[in-house]
């Protein structure tokens, strides 16, 4: 057994987290910043933070992830990181020439209290920021929230660029939440089908799923442009997908530029996608084209074709709040029973929402915000499940307990596909179903005795 020391009996823990179901804020900020065209994320702290975040993102995407660091030493930690950041800004614009530097902080610079806005203004006064270039920032203390919070903070940081000219530009802002480049592409495709002009930010498609052509561009074609971010202040409305990931940025746009917003769930599965399409249709004042109706119908068709295999199967899930909420709703909608649900990200609202979504399930549902995978594993030992859904780290539980395992979330280290094939929208729903069904049927084929092993569905 790999996790051989995990006991079945659950002991209350208040101080030690074991096998976390979250990581720290800065990586979320780095991921979000990569979704701006021509942007170099910059980590204001020790160089280890930057190295770890780049490594984790690179392993997940199998793509170059460039980011710089203030390379704090003990001296900077005592005297403050201003001189490091000023030097960094000068060096970055001279050597790498990005359009934007997106600075995020770390527990180190937050603890010593570096004021990034003041340092940025100083850089500007000293002429270190070339004409037409930008330095944006957000505060991402690692000891508050989780990687999700950091993602949200950088999205909000982007909206600081937005300006309101008083003239609406007819576009809808869509903040997709922490989803994959393929999901962002899919959201753009759906909006295109509906003929709704959108500004999607961040947008990592084209950046973290680039082609191999023999050329390396540090700043690839994709990403939301600074011009688009400025224009986001003139949009007719904002759809924020995911309360945890996207709502703060949308509300900031509302406060700052009077762009009204709606907060929706990330469109995983039928119902959440329905709400997304319906809201997009309403705010843009357009009708839903047949193409989209057909895609919806295909998903419903597959749901009905394969319903018997999902029926009352128990599922354990671990991941981030916004993703889990839509996923749980989807599983419930195909008569599965999500019985153990853990996120590492704090927020009691999460537990409440999951309880509501699973209210109709006739068995006990365990849900925990600010939980960990050690707890999830213990729950599974007490009440076994038919399917485990989590990031790559779940493979240790899946192997020990012999559970079919769907890799979903961040990070996914030894599987590919998330870069290219979406999970959002109706098409994404088809993919999720296809993968879940494959896992369940492979297991059935493995376990059925020869007498009942069958060819047909």
């Amino acid at each position: 057994m790999l996790l051989r020391h995990t006991p079945k009996e659950v002991m209350d823990r208040h101080a030690v987290t074991i096998n976390p179901a979250k990581t720290c804020q800065p990586i979320g900020a780095m991921y979000a910043a990569l979704g701006i065209h021509g942007c170099l994320p910059h980590s204001h702290g020790s160089q280890g933070c930057c190295a770890y975040h780049r490594s984790a993102l690179t392993r997940h995407y199998k793509e170059p992830v460039s980011a710089s660091t203030s390379s704090f030493t003990e001296g900077a930690s005592v005297f403050g990181g201003q001189s490091n950041l000023l030097q960094a800004i000068e060096n970055i614009f001279t050597i790498y020439d990005p359009e934007v530097i997106a600075v995020h902080t770390t527990c180190l610079s937050e603890t010593i209290g570096d004021d990034i806005k003041q340092i940025r203004d100083k850089a500007s006064k000293q002429g270190l920021i070339p004409e037409g270039k930008h330095v944006i920032y957000c505060n991402t203390p690692s000891y508050v929230g989780s990687h999700v919070t950091g993602f949200s903070s950088m999205c909000k940081g982007m909206t600081e660029l937005s300006e309101s000219t008083g003239r609406k530009n007819g576009k809808v802002n869509v903040i997709p939440g922490w989803v994959e480049p393929s999901d962002m592409e899919e959201i753009k495709r759906l909006a295109g089908l509906m003929n709704v002009p959108i500004t999607l930010f961040p947008d990592t498609s084209g950046i973290l799923n680039g082609p191999l052509t023999g050329e390396y561009h540090m700043f690839p074609e994709g990403g939301v442009t600074v011009r688009e971010l400025i224009g986001a202040g003139d949009a007719i409305g904002t759809l924020a997908l995911g309360e945890w990931c996207s709502a703060d940025a949308a509300r900031n746009l509302d406060t700052k530029c009077k762009v009204p917003c709606k907060v929706l769930d990330i469109p995983f599965g039928l119902a959440a996608t329905d709400r997304f399409i319906d809201t997009l249709r309403t705010v843009a004042g357009t009708s839903v084209p047949d193409d989209v109706n057909r895609e919806r119908g295909q998903l419903v068709d597959m749901m009905s074709d394969t319903a018997q295999y999902y029926y009352h199967k128990k599922v354990a899930l671990c991941g981030d709040p916004d993703q889990l909420i839509s996923m749980v709703e989807f599983l419930v909608s195909i008569d599965m029973w999500p019985v153990h649900i853990v996120t590492g990200t704090p927020g009691k609202k999460f537990e409440k929402r999951i309880k509501e979504l699973t209210a109709g399930i006739p068995c006990e549902v365990n849900v925990r915000a600010a939980g960990d995978m050690f707890l999830l594993h213990q729950w599974i030992k007490n009440e076994p499940v038919d399917l485990l859904i989590s990031n790559t780290y779940g493979k240790y539980i899946a192997r020990d307990e012999d559970i079919p395992f769907l890799r979903f979330g961040f990070p996914i280290l030894v599987r590919v596909g998330h870069q290219y094939f979406p999970n959002v929208g109706y098409k994404g729903g088809l993919r999720l179903l296809e993968r879940i069904l494959g896992l369940l049927l492979d297991r059935k084929d493995r376990d059925d005795p020869e007498t009942t092993f069958e060819l047909t569905l």
């Binding site: 006991p7 770890y52 490594s55 660091t69 000891y143 050329e215 390396y216 540090m218």
Partner: protein, 543 residues
């Protein structure tokens, strides 16, 4: 940027000039000392190393915590590694370094677990000692491990939590669990290297010499600085065992608590990664009288040479003969593999920018395949790893190194036992045997090659653009920007999920892996047919 056809031969001096051209003057000045050309002189040229990375330059380096928790202590399977800090540091060091371990069916193994105090803002404001103490207690109640190691992250040092006091208190309280701590805050030093040093000190202070049930064996060694990435230690141990050599303790790949504790009973320390572990080797000699030698089990020739060196040290004919038998037996497969791959690898070129010893050791493997290393450098090494230990007396201790603790050890009144008398040492010396010696990377490199310390992303890209090596070796962060250029990239930290590459079988694995990378068809598909011949000369006529 795309790679042009291989340009006219640049001289090393021209390459260096090109690398520095775009930098602001201050940066260019500083970097120029870290980029040196091997003129092939008798003495290696001086290189600037182990100095601060310039802010904003995209570096390969990590932090002190990574060197301590990630590298040295990461492979310790039966010590609970509890990270005191916000969650990230623990999360990123969780199973990401591919340290394999063999605890047996029932042995303790906490490596698949990540333990953290997950500090919150209230802990930062009011102090985290209380939470740390409670976390240590919970770990103890839950798992009853032999040992709990506590690691400090950046904010811990800043807010002044006394992790060592907590460790002492809890150790005393438990009585049957060794609790000790590492002040390895990420901002210390200039790279991972400071973390290695901090880890070495604490392992030596809290573990080595605390137990006396040593493994039986006639020829007892310790293997220092081998981390069992991809199973390297398994292969080295296989070979050692076959020769009849007993490995008392590996620092720290596939290690166990008891091995560390009995390491003082070995008779020779064999140092693989000089950078990360030479501190322990020195302390072992001073305190217990165990001499150390530099070995290198990367490369078949290096493996053979290292085994012979161990044989010569013990000076026992039975062992020396057995070692020769093993080498002869193992070399058959090595030679067969080389004969197979050399037609495709001979004359190819490589660049290696990695670690504190790997960029040197792996040149041997490339050399065996008939490949030439055009440029190399370390991520976190010091001058002695480039120029040899002869420069040690002249190394200046700067502000960043001064605050890394140096522990002073003395000969142990009970346990010190000189394994070799001065006479014996001298005799071995006359026969060409070298104790405590490492000549560094540069003397092994060809004239005209480039040596670059702390290479950054911009310089890597430029080097490839100008020189276009056939293969480039570095880490995961560098991998895909290199491969986008169509140059195969081999990770030498994590081995791209392959390995082992050490020992004889490892050498064979590596030859095949490099052959695969160089001969792969994949690199031929980057341009579509219509991109190769974009102009239409006439309309296609359907027949």
């Amino acid at each position: 940027m795309a790679i042009q056809n291989k340009p006219a031969q640049w001289t090393a001096a021209e390459v260096k000039e090109e690398l520095l051209k775009k930098y602001p003057p201050k940066v260019a000045r500083k970097r120029s000392h870290s980029i040196v050309i091997n003129e092939g002189a008798a003495e290696a040229p001086e290189i600037q190393a182990n100095v601060r990375t310039i802010p904003g330059v995209i570096t390969m380096r990590g932090c002190t915590y990574a060197g301590c928790k990630g590298v040295i202590m990461g492979p310790t399977r039966d010590i609970v590694n509890l990270v005191h800090g916000p969650i990230g540091c623990s999360f990123y060091a969780w199973l990401t370094r591919r340290n394999q371990t063999d605890p047996g069916p029932d042995g303790e193994n906490y490596m698949p677990y990540a333990f953290s105090t997950d500090m919150q803002d209230s802990d930062i404001i009011f102090g985290g000692e209380k939470k740390l103490k409670a976390a240590v207690q919970e770990v103890y109640d839950l798992l009853h491990p032999k040992a709990i190691a506590i690691f400090a992250t950046c904010p811990v040092g800043l807010i002044g939590d006394d992790i060592h006091a907590v460790a002492r208190e809890m150790k005393e309280k438990f009585g049957d669990c060794n609790v000790f701590a590492f002040s390895c805050e990420g901002y210390k030093g200039v790279s991972q290297s400071a973390g290695h040093h901090i880890a070495n000190n604490q392992v030596f202070k809290h573990l080595v010499g605390t137990e006396s049930n040593v493994k039986e064996g006639k020829y007892k060694i310790n293997l220092l600085g081998e981390y069992n990435i991809g199973g390297d230690e398994f292969e080295i141990n296989r070979v050692l065992k076959k020769c009849g050599i007993t490995n008392v303790a590996t620092f720290s790949g596939n290690s166990s608590y008891d091995q560390f504790c009995t390491a003082h009973l070995a008779d020779l320390s064999c140092v693989m990664c000089h950078r990360s572990i030479n501190y322990v080797a020195d302390m072992m000699e001073t305190k217990y009288g165990i001499p150390w030698i530099k070995v290198n089990f990367v490369g078949a020739e290096g493996t053979a040479k290292s085994l012979r060196k161990i044989g010569q040290y013990f000076g026992d004919k039975e062992l020396i003969d057995r070692i020769e038998e093993v080498i002869a037996e193992e070399m058959k497969a090595v030679e067969a593999a080389l004969a197979e791959v050399r037609p495709r690898t001979q004359g190819k070129t490589s660049m290696l920018f990695v670690g504190g010893s790997r960029a040197h050791h792996y040149q041997d493997l490339f050399h065996e395949m008939g490949m030439k290393t055009l440029a190399a450098g370390y991520e976190f090494a010091h001058r002695d790893d480039y120029e040899g230990r002869r420069v040690l007396p002249n190394l200046k201790v700067d502000a960043d190194s001064r605050n890394i603790e140096e522990i002073v050890v003395e000969a142990d009144p009970n346990e010190y036992r000189a394994r070799k008398s001065e006479d014996e040492k001298e005799k071995l010396g006359q026969a060409g045997f070298k104790f405590k010696d490492y000549e560094g990377m540069i003397p092994d490199m060809e004239k005209g090659s480039l040596i670059i310390d702390d290479l950054n992303q911009y310089e890597a890209e430029k080097l490839i653009e100008i020189i276009k090596p056939d293969i480039f070796c570095a880490g995961i962060k560098e991998k895909f920007s290199i491969q986008k250029l169509g140059i195969p990239m081999k990770q030498l930290h994590s081995y791209d999920y392959g390995g082992p590459y050490a020992g004889f079988k490892g050498a064979v694995n590596f030859y095949h892996e490099i052959d695969r990378l160089l001969s792969s068809r994949i690199w031929g598909y980057m341009k579509a047919p219509w991109q190769e011949n974009p102009e239409l000369s006439a309309t296609y006529v359907w027949e």
